[in-house]
């Protein structure tokens, strides 16, 4: 599939995108189940945004993943790899059967997203807090190339506790990088527990605004709102833009929803069955 054209022409309907997201959710849960490990929670909270971006907005070429003038998508919270692999395979970057090898020796689907292993992955993540800085480098390069390509970055809300994120936030605003767009997956849960128990983030939108960013808040599972948010980000031309997407960790699978124990755990056989029933 080529999504070279991008833009709004012939944009799939919200219902179509929702059905793609549902298929990706099924892929996420079964991939993690098969591997016996992985991170379903933060993949399920992010997937609606990934689907909206890859199916309607990103100018990327699955048949030429390294096309130099492609838009960039940087999954900074690299443990959301099941989410990435599900949408990349849906977008034609590789065959769906590769998902079965997730986390296995020699697999193109590494535990954390890695540009050296997976076609369509722009950034090697796994260590939180680095992706926004990398995105700034990509945005500087696009500016030097006088290219209109856009750099999208996705961050976790727990990830915002890393100091480097704020170093990056400061410099992106200082350099007025209007080709840099960020989604924060505000699912309120991190690894050990709820964000509010680990390290309260207080007013996240106000923090970004104070760092010089254009900020908008949305429901990250409402496809219409996600699409509008992408359009809004594209319209911000004074500097970087961030969308704080309120989401539910584990969204779509009742026993994973809002449950810190499914940050990085695989479902049992019975749980898989239940999940697949729910994801119809």
């Amino acid at each position: 599939m080529s999504m070279d054209a991008g833009g709004t022409e012939g944009q799939p309907q919200v219902a179509e995108l929702e059905s793609v997201a549902l298929a990706c959710r099924r892929a996420i849960v079964s991939m993690v189940h098969k591997a016996g490990a992985g991170h379903p929670g933060g993949s399920l909270s992010a997937i609606d945004m990934l689907v909206a971006l890859y199916c309607t907005r990103l100018r990327v070429r699955s048949e030429e993943p390294d096309w130099p003038d492609r838009d960039r998508f940087i999954m900074s919270k690299g443990h959301a790899s099941p989410g990435m692999y599900s949408i990349l395979s849906h977008s034609g970057f590789f065959e769906a059967e590769e998902l079965d090898s997730f986390r296995k020796l020699g697999s193109i689907c590494q535990g954390h997203v890695d540009s050296g292993w997976t076609p369509g992955v722009d950034f090697s993540a796994g260590s939180l807090g680095m992706g926004l800085s990398f995105g700034i480098g990509c945005a500087f390069a696009a500016r030097l190339d006088a290219s209109k390509r856009t750099v999208f970055v996705m961050l976790g809300d727990g990830e915002l506790q890393e100091g480097q994120v704020w170093e990056a936030a400061m410099s992106a605003a200082h350099h007025e990088l209007n080709n840099l767009k960020v989604f924060v997956d505000r699912n309120r849960i991190q690894n050990d527990d709820f964000v509010d128990k680990q390290m309260r983030m207080f007013d996240v939108p106000a923090k970004w605004a104070a760092f010089g960013w254009a900020v908008r808040e949305i429901d990250g599972h409402d496809m219409t709102e996600v699409l509008e948010a992408i359009q809004w980000m594209d319209g911000v031309d004074t500097g970087p833009a961030v969308v704080i997407a309120h989401t539910v960790k584990g969204k779509g699978v009742s026993f994973m929803e809002d449950n810190p124990s499914f940050h990085g755990a695989a479902p049992s056989d019975e749980q898989l069955e239940q999940a697949m029933e729910e994801l119809q």
């Binding site: 130099p68 890695d114 540009s115 050296g116 722009d122 950034f123 090697s124 796994g126 260590s127 807090g129 680095m130 992706g131 800085s133 990398f134 995105g135 700034i136 480098g137 990509c138 945005a139 500087f140 390069a141 696009a142 030097l144 190339d145 100091g163 480097q164 170093e167 990056a168 400061m170 410099s171 200082h174 350099h175």
Partner: protein
């Protein structure tokens, strides 16, 4: 009279030499005046990115530029590159982005700023990273040349420069012969070989002259590249001279001395004496005073050479 020069000036000049290549970009973290990338900034502000005092951020911004086809040269003090070590490891070396880091003000010779500014472990830590080239040239013109050569490298590098002025070692001819990964033999002798980097190359040359007066003939090598180590040269010298001395303004653990010790132990054990900082932190003082107090100057290299020779079978 030999000119007194600082290797960090060579970095600034090297960047200027590279400027015609529009893919070359420069990154700074509020120390461009010290590392000398400020010269590039003045002429090419549109290709210079100031990231403020944020070294971790700078590492990944450089990686992003490299991933988009640019050739980033990023610098700060050697010690402050270490703030971003894990960023270098995961964000630069692991994906093999050709980012060129320069850490200036390396070693005790940095002087009166004291131990917080004197990195004595940078060569060791960067050497452990796969894909990394690690260098520490000895004077301005060799640094300039090696900086220019770095831009052709397809992987990442770390180059340490020094703050203070020392007598220039190289001339136009010897500089033209420099190659990354190849030690440069400055003088030849069969009794012992001194392998040195950075400011201690000059100390090794002084030591060789004094030993020669006592009839001891010494090889001196400018080991400007610590990784990949010129193992063919080291093994040849081990065979020819039968004893080696390493000399570096760096911990004796893990740097040039460590690299040579690993190679010799595995391939051709001969006596090795390591001149370096003996697992301790520095302090404030004049650069030369510190070399004396911490056992790094030519007197200590001479003593080490005599010990190494005495240990020959």
């Amino acid at each position: 009279m030999t000119a007194l020069v600082a290797s960090r000036d060579g970095y600034g000049e090297g960047l200027m030499q590279l400027a015609d290549d529009e893919r070359v970009v420069v990154l700074e973290a509020d120390l461009g005046k010290s590392t000398k990338s400020c010269r590039f900034r003045e002429m090419y502000p549109e290709r210079t990115f100031s990231l403020g005092i944020s070294e971790q951020n700078m590492m990944l911004v450089a990686a992003g530029l490299a991933s988009s086809g640019y050739k980033p040269f990023a610098s700060t003090f050697a010690i402050f590159t270490e703030r971003g070590f894990e960023q270098v490891r995961n964000g630069i070396a692991r994906p093999n982005h050709a980012v060129h880091l320069c850490g200036s003000h390396g070693g005790l010779h940095t002087g009166t700023d004291g131990s917080s500014a004197q990195s004595i472990e940078d060569l060791a830590i960067y050497r452990t990273l796969p894909n990394m080239t690690v260098m520490h040239p000895c004077d301005d013109i060799s640094t300039e040349r090696l900086t220019v050569l770095l831009s052709a490298l397809s992987g990442p590098s770390y180059m340490r420069t020094a703050r203070n002025k020392r007598p220039r070692i190289h001339d136009d001819e010897s500089v033209a012969a420099l190659r990354i990964g190849k030690g440069h033999v400055l003088r030849e002798g069969i009794d012992v070989a001194l392998l040195a980097c950075g400011v201690l190359v000059g100390e090794a040359m002084t030591a060789a002259e004094e030993l020669s007066r006592d009839g001891i003939e010494v090889t001196v090598v400018d080991m400007h590249t610590i990784k990949p180590l010129d193992s063919a040269l080291v093994q040849r010298l081990a065979a020819d001279c039968g004893a080696l001395v390493t000399a570096e303004d760096h911990s004796i653990i893990g740097g040039l001395g460590g690299a040579v010790a690993e190679l010799l132990a595995a391939n051709c054990p001969v006596p090795l004496e390591r001149v370096g900082v003996n697992d301790t932190f520095g302090e404030s003082g004049d650069g030369d005073e510190l070399l004396e107090k911490y056992g790094l100057n030519s007197d200590y290299i001479i003593a080490a050479a005599r010990r190494a020779i005495a240990r020959k079978a």
